[in-house]
């Protein structure tokens, strides 16, 4: 078997049409989740024109890249490499997100529960002895000037 034969999880195509040069990679959705593909594509729309198409024949998702300015095939080829790295990164993040979902939920619940915890029932705010304007320390009725015992 030569290196190009057998099952492949990716493919790379480059070409040109009425809209200029483009590169295209094909992503196997059985290896990468839809969410990882969409999140990665979303980040790449900032720097490139990106188009996603579902290839009915192969079942792969074709991701097409075009430059916003210029027509350098080298830049587009580099973009495809960046895309694979980012896709792998995103896929790992998704997996970790799923694996740690229960721990994250527990921590969140705990944090919100503590934030909502009630004061002990005996704690009543009594503001009847708040000093009034002009009141001197010698008029202290609550004993705040008394030394600690």
């Amino acid at each position: 078997m030569t290196p190009n034969e057998g099952a492949s999880t990716s493919a790379f195509v480059s070409g040109a049409d009425d809209l200029g040069v483009f590169t295209r990679v094909s992503v196997d959705p059985s290896f990468f989740s839809d969410v990882a593909i969409l999140k990665t594509a979303y980040w790449f729309t900032d720097k490139y024109y990106v188009f996603l198409a579902k290839n009915r024949a192969s079942g792969f998702v074709d991701v097409e890249f075009r430059l916003k300015e210029g027509d350098s095939l080298d830049y587009l080829t580099a973009a495809c490499g960046e895309f694979w790295n980012s896709l792998l990164d995103q896929e790992v993040r998704q997996k970790i997100l799923l694996e740690t979902a229960s721990v994250r939920d527990t921590l969140l619940k705990k944090a919100f529960f503590e934030g909502k915890a009630r004061l002990p029932s005996g704690t009543v705010s009594d503001e009847s002895h708040l000093p009034e304007a002009g009141e001197l320390f010698r008029d202290d009725r609550v004993g705040s000037t008394r030394p600690d015992v």
Binding site: A41, T45, R56
Partner: protein
């Protein structure tokens, strides 16, 4: 001047298309033809006054369409 692309409903949503049509209505008009298997052919007709920037209008239209579709899918996942 017009360009056609075939989209899959699982990636590009109708809701996102409605948004992008409205936003880019100044620059182009769109025509949608539903196909089999949840696909649709979307033709973007660039308005004559923007023929000089046809490539940019068309590709920006599709980038924005993808942006909104991705956001919707990610938020609902």
């Amino acid at each position: 001047m017009n360009f056609t692309r075939t989209i899959d409903n699982q990636i590009y949503s109708r809701k996102a298309l409605a948004v992008v049509r409205e936003v880019y209505g100044k620059y182009c008009t769109t025509q949608i033809e539903p196909l089999a298997n949840g696909e649709a052919a979307v033709t973007v007709h660039i308005k004559t006054e923007y023929y000089g920037d046809a490539r940019q209008v068309f590709l920006e239209f599709w980038n924005y369409f993808l942006d909104i579709s991705c956001k919707q899918k990610i938020e609902s996942s």
